[in-house]
């Protein structure tokens, strides 16, 4: 009886978060430089629902702006925000450390090194290539760095694998950053491009980017969400979780791999967008408590909504230029988080 009540409350949260995500996406489609009048866009969207007929009065050319430029950007922002939040929450679960972010085991540094190499070796015209090598190489770099971290970190014996894994991540990050700096020093001309990549970008999003990341993100999301109960078991510590019959090493390996797969794939198309992976899961915890059964699904939905929303000011505030999304996430996210923290502290 009691548990049924808890379950239905979770569904209530999931449904309201899904509505928030949907509203954010519609807002994201409505606001932006150029394109049709904002209020016509929801009408056009309704018109596209089967059996609904509304004349929105949008010209085909205007709709192209919305559908080919804004829509992929909104969808990509939702995917990136959802994936970073979910990966962050999962990493925090397996390492039982709320300060951990999805870049902990070197994925960001590895991807950054990959991107730097593409800019440095490919020169200024990587678009000449048949396939854009940037996402592929940065994805490969991120995965390789975490693989390396895992091999080194788990080779010290099982007793300290948790700490040694994190330390190995620190070492691999430093190494990759050092190589990246060296390459940058030798290739001054690409510093600007690499810097822009590091600050994160959604501005050049296309449906191609969405198609590129979607398979990886779907696999990663499904696997991580299926671990929500086991992450709750890990909350009592390694020893007790083991005594309760959990194969901790297997859980940790699968969760780290799945979270890395998701993170590396979104980093490959959007660069480094910090902050989301820590702040969104925390905000969710402040609202619904620390159980991963709630934190994981809500991080997906609200992480997506958060990045879609903060992407709006990033493209309109300094029109026609863009503010890097990483700057906006911190600029709007940090005060919001502090406010939430303060309200919760006071009310409890």
């Amino acid at each position: 009886m009691t548990s049924a009540r808890g379950g239905s409350r979770l569904w209530l949260w999931v449904v309201s978060s899904a509505v928030i995500l949907l509203v954010s996406c519609v807002l994201g489609l409505m606001i932006g430089p150029a394109g049709p009048q904002w209020w016509r866009i929801p009408l056009e969207l309704l018109d596209r629902i089967p059996f609904v007929n509304i004349d929105s009065g949008i010209a085909a050319r205007d709709w192209t702006i919305v559908w080919q430029i804004r829509a992929p950007r909104v969808v990509l922002a939702a995917i990136v925000g959802a994936t970073l939040s979910l990966s962050g929450a999962s990493f925090q679960g397996v390492f039982r450390n709320p300060l951990v972010d999805p870049y902990l085991l070197g994925v960001a540094a590895g991807a950054g090194l990959g991107a730097t190499l593409v800019f440095a070796l490919g020169g200024s015209r990587p678009t000449d290539w048949l396939i854009d090598p940037l996402p592929l190489v940065s994805f490969g770099g991120g995965m390789a760095a975490v693989f390396f971290t895992y091999m080194v970190g788990t080779s010290f014996g099982k007793t300290r694998s948790n700490i040694s894994l994190v330390l190995a991540g620190v070492a691999v990050t430093s190494l990759a950053t050092a190589i990246q700096t060296f390459v940058l020093q030798r290739n001054n001309d690409v510093v600007r491009q690499v810097y822009a990549w590091i600050l994160g970008r959604l501005s050049s999003a296309t449906w191609g980017d969405v198609r590129l990341v979607l398979p990886y993100v779907v696999v990663s999301t499904v696997v991580l969400l299926m671990h929500r109960r086991l992450l709750d078991v890990l909350r009592v510590g390694d020893d007790e979780a083991l005594a309760l019959g959990t194969n901790i090493r297997r859980v940790r390996l699968i969760v780290v791999l799945a979270a890395t797969l998701g993170t590396a794939s979104v980093v490959a198309v959007s660069g480094l967008i910090g902050f989301v992976g820590i702040i969104v899961p925390h905000a969710v915890r402040l609202i619904v408590g620390a159980s991963y059964r709630k934190v994981l699904p809500l991080s997906v939905l609200l992480g997506g909504a958060f990045l879609v929303l903060v992407d709006i000011p990033s493209r309109v505030l300094s029109d026609p230029a863009e503010i890097p999304i990483g700057v906006v996430t911190a600029f709007f996210g940090a005060p919001f988080f502090l406010l939430l923290l303060r309200t919760r502290e006071t009310s409890s």
Partner: protein
């Protein structure tokens, strides 16, 4: 029937020897109390049996050597109550006791109705009815102690290992908790191994006492052969 057997158990942490040639054979429904000062190796004996540390020699449950078993099999056969359990403060009582059903739930599965019924039963037998929705942060020390025992009982394992189960409690609560374990032992035929400080309490409940002194076990009766 032999449920739990130790043979020439030796536990080391680096160069430090914690337990040396520990032998014992426990039958169904038996309660053995390991007593001794801090650092005598009591906890190490229990942790070896729970599969939490490496050792040499042999520890077997139902004739199966501990290292050869999976974590899931062990948790179905041995329930371990740690000395200082980690308490996630915003978990509810029901969620916490449900963790004891973990060894029966498939990897990607969720708790079934029968798991929840078992939790209701266990909470009833430990006088924790009506606590289901309470957050752990709101419980007293004595209630937490009973809750951790409740989680272990939800595992429905034939062997119960208690590592200083009552050290955080006052004398009244200590006795209450141990009486509870004793009652369950009689009702369900549990085999209990507990590590304890308090000689009086240990003498009141245990069938046999084993004194750990400077990593070696001493006892009144003859040392069992293995």
């Amino acid at each position: 029937m032999t449920v739990l057997g130790f043979c020439e158990l030796r536990v080391t942490y680096g160069d430090h020897v914690a337990v040396e040639s520990y032998n014992d054979i426990l039958h169904s429904g038996e309660w053995v109390c390991v007593i001794g000062p801090n650092g005598a190796g009591k906890s190490s004996v229990l942790r070896a049996a729970a599969g939490l540390i490496d050792y040499t020699g042999s520890v077997a449950v139902d004739q199966k050597e501990i290292p050869a078993t999976s974590a899931r099999w062990r948790a179905q056969h041995i329930a371990f109550v740690p000395q200082s359990p980690l308490i996630p403060h915003d978990m509810t009582v029901e969620e916490y006791v449900l963790l004891g059903r973990n060894p029966y739930i498939p990897y990607f599965g969720v708790e079934s109705a029968s798991d929840r019924e078992i939790v209701v039963d266990v909470l009833h037998s430990l006088d924790l009815e009506g606590f289901e929705r309470r957050k752990l942060a709101t419980l007293s020390g004595g209630e937490i102690q009973r809750l951790v025992i409740a989680r272990a009982l939800a595992q429905q394992a034939p062997v119960l290992l208690l590592d200083e189960p009552t050290s955080a409690l006052d004398i009244g609560h200590q006795q209450h908790a141990l009486e509870l374990v004793d009652r369950l032992r009689r009702e369900r035929g549990l085999t209990v191994v507990s590590a304890m400080h308090d000689l009086t309490l240990a003498g009141m409940y245990a069938d046999r006492l084993i004194l750990m002194h400077q990593v070696v076990a001493w006892r009144k009766e003859a040392r069992p052969k293995c």
